[in-house]
């Protein structure tokens, strides 16, 4: 669809969060907040003033334990949730003011975004390309391209409900990029996948980056983030504790392994030592 440069920010939306390249960001998040009401816990600040920006052709990793606020942040970016405060822009479109334009500019993939079981793989791709406003006359050509690229030709006419989980994963990634969006959001994409399929996912993300897409990637798996991400944001209790390349984070903390870097920031924030954290089981960051 478009890998174009985001529009120049207006005075009102002038970029406050710098990108590494200095170019206009494809994603900009400024003081983003989300508060929920919970029967037992009262008001819960799931996201509490997060700010960051992403460049074109960058894989940005959001690293955090379960319940840290990663998914809520990504849901606000994909306009599924409305921010309680602050704002965010995707390709220059503000998430609350222009939700449809935002959704046109991104592809969202997560374990909770399933496929329609009664459509065939081919119908699925066609549907998502059309509904995300890919030029109608070019939809058949785009579907062919995706079928070829993801090797789903053999089962393109089979209903999704009949496919294996590996096949479904391929169709699911293909539907995410069916409208060729410049920004892709992958929320814990390897959860529930076996080793081979998880590796395939990593390969896909790399390839998308090479094509110049911005990939916002969330995970609690250190090794994945280490391998894939150009920059990493460590998120904990809804707040961004650290942001930088792996090298920068290593330099700042004096730790080599990402796991140690992560624990360093979290323990500093909590004011507890590592042993205590392990005992409460609050962190489930796996290797």
């Amino acid at each position: 669809m478009s890998d174009s440069v985001p529009p120049a920010p207006s005075a009102a939306t002038a970029s406050a969060v710098p990108t590494p390249s200095g170019a206009p960001p494809t994603i900009e998040v400024r003081d983003l907040r989300k508060t929920f009401y919970d029967e037992s816990r009262g008001e819960v600040h799931a996201v509490d003033g997060i700010s960051f920006a992403c460049d074109r052709g960058e894989v940005f990793g959001l690293l955090g334990a379960n319940g840290a606020g990663k998914t809520t942040t990504l849901r606000m970016l994909s306009t599924v949730l409305r921010p309680s405060g602050g704002s965010a822009w995707v390709m220059g479109h503000e998430v609350a003011a222009e939700p449809e334009a935002v959704r046109r500019s991104l592809g969202f993939y997560s374990a909770s975004t399933a496929l329609y079981p009664r459509l065939t793989a081919r119908e699925t791709l066609e549907f998502f390309a059309r509904i995300n406003r890919y030029p109608p006359e070019r939809v058949p050509e785009r579907v062919e391209e995706l079928v070829e690229r993801f090797g789903i030709g053999e089962y393109q006419h089979a209903r999704v409900e009949k496919l294996s989980s590996g096949m479904k994963q391929k169709v699911s990634i293909a539907r995410t990029i069916a409208h060729d969006p410049p920004v892709l959001i992958f929320d814990e994409p390897t959860v529930g996948l076996d080793v081979l399929n998880a590796l395939e996912m990593v390969r896909v993300v790399r390839r998308l980056r090479d094509e110049g897409k911005t990939v916002l990637f969330s995970s609690h798996i250190m090794s994945e983030v280490e391998k894939l991400c150009d920059r990493i944001g460590i998120i904990h209790r809804g707040r961004l504790l650290a942001l930088g390349t792996l090298e920068e984070l290593r330099e700042r903390t004096g730790r080599h392994y990402l796991e140690d870097v992560f624990v360093h920031y979290v323990t500093r924030e909590e004011g507890v030592d590592v042993a205590e954290l392990g005992a409460t089981g609050e962190l489930e960051a796996g290797a």
Binding site: T79, V80, E100, S110, A114, R118
Partner: protein, 443 residues
């Protein structure tokens, strides 16, 4: 903003998925076509069969008095009636001797135990009749809780009535009285309804009932499938991330549910109309009635308008309720009451002795039922038909307003609200909680 191209793409996707789901195809397409025609056939065939079985029963009659000497032929009349056997008569051969005369208490005990079906006593006449020579009174006792016993009573009564007529006629002739002297006036009964009118009356009753039930049934499964079903299959969030507006998504789903409701109603009415003649005509011919089944052409648009208005109402109400469920099963439980509630006004609209009135035209569902019945009977009260449609569309608007209100809330839209419909209404309308879960989300 509503985008027609998006609505069309989403609507086609919904329909395509629906036609591949067995539950939807069975409930919204196959059942409307086959269920009621088959049920009608089964019902009438069973009725005919039971009738035949009853006809085949032999009524066992016990006498507690001997037949009066002057009327010995009563005995022959009873014995001559097919399906009647007097106690004591041999089963295989023609009886010649007198039947058993039982003691009254013994005969009544046999009647209560079901060993005989009726007890007949020949008694002396009472009142003015006692002066007539040779007169007598017959007492027939039967068990009102047993259909077999009631049938025995009917048979004995018909035999005795026939005997009485013959006896009276014979006595009158002996006294030189003609029929005119004996019977001062005759009652001649004749129905002015034509066979066509009888047919439309039957059709009006049946089609107005089936159409409404089928529109509701047609909306039922799709409304649950497209809301709670999507959540259960985790496709709801996928849909929330597509570029189409929320308004387009909801409109496409609404139109899809209404389409299947209308389709179910129209298919069912067509199937019943085409099959009713084939099912009922042979049965009615057996009873000597000739009935023609037809519908005035002008009734077709009225029926269609009724089906569309009701489908829009049922779709909105059912989708709104099903949206509170997180699984298909929960959705069914939430929507089921709407389906059963339809029957109450429907029964009101099934009254046979009146046409559409301003009062009934103001009662949703009942008004459409009556409007359709009138139209099939060729009665078109246009101002009341218009009022019926206005009332039904007002209920649609009310249901849509409720849906629009609910869709403003993010937790409802995303399915994270964990409570019932009533709790939602109570919490949000009373505005007891003004936290972020009430964020407007309808975008």
């Amino acid at each position: 903003m509503l985008n027609r191209a998006d609505v069309w793409t989403l609507y086609r996707r919904e329909l395509r998925s629906a036609f591949r789901e067995r539950t939807i195809v069975v409930n919204s397409i196959l059942m409307p076509i086959f269920l009621y025609p088959v049920l009608l056939w089964v019902m009438f065939t069973a009725q005919t069969y039971i009738q035949g079985l009853n006809e085949g029963f032999t009524s066992r009659i016990a006498l507690v008095d001997p037949v009066p000497a002057d009327h010995a032929s009563v005995l022959d009349s009873l014995r001559g009636r097919e399906g009647v056997r007097l106690r004591g008569d041999p089963e295989e051969e023609t009886p010649t001797g007198p039947p058993d005369i039982l003691i009254e208490s013994e005969a009544l005990a046999l009647l209560r135990s079901g060993a005989v079906d009726a007890v007949v006593g020949f008694r002396p006449p009472e009142g003015a009749g006692s002066t007539l020579p040779g007169n007598f009174r017959v007492q027939v006792r039967f068990d009102g809780t047993e259909s077999r016993s009631e049938r025995a009573r009917d048979r004995v009564e018909s035999v005795l009535a026939g005997y009485r007529d013959t006896w009276v006629q014979r006595e009158a002739e002996r006294l030189g009285m003609g029929v005119e002297d004996r019977v001062r006036f005759l009652v001649d009964v004749e129905s002015v309804s034509t066979s066509r009118e009888m047919g439309t009356m039957i059709l009006g009753q049946m089609l107005s009932f089936f159409l409404i039930i089928m529109v509701a049934l047609g909306c039922f499964v799709p409304s649950v499938d497209t809301t709670a079903g999507e959540r259960e299959r985790s496709t709801w969030e996928t849909l929330m991330t597509v570029a189409a507006s929320r308004a387009s998504v909801v409109t496409a789903k609404y139109l899809y549910v209404a389409t299947l409701g209308i389709a179910a109603g129209v298919l069912n009415v067509t199937a019943v109309f085409l099959s009713v003649g084939a099912v009922l005509r042979p049965l009615l011919q057996g009873s000597g009635e000739e009935i023609t089944f037809s519908i005035p052409l002008a009734a077709v648009p009225v029926m269609l308008a009724g089906a569309v208005a009701l489908a829009l109402f049922f779709s909105a109400a059912m989708m709104l309720l099903a949206s509170f469920a997180r699984s298909f099963k929960d959705g069914q439980a939430l929507v089921q009451p709407v389906y059963w509630l339809v029957f109450l006004p429907l029964l009101l609209g099934q009254q046979t002795d009146r046409t559409l009135t301003p009062a009934i035209a103001s009662v949703p569902v009942a008004n459409v039922s009556m409007m359709i019945r009138d139209a099939i009977n060729g009665v078109f009260l246009w101002p009341l038909i218009a009022w019926t449609l206005v009332v039904t569309l007002a209920t649609v608007a009310l249901a849509l307003t409720g849906a629009r209100f609910a869709l403003r809330f993010e937790d409802f839209l995303l399915g994270s609200f964990d409570g019932s419909f009533w709790r939602f209404v109570r919490d949000r309308i009373s505005r007891r909680r003004r936290t972020d879960h009430t964020t407007e989300a309808g975008r």
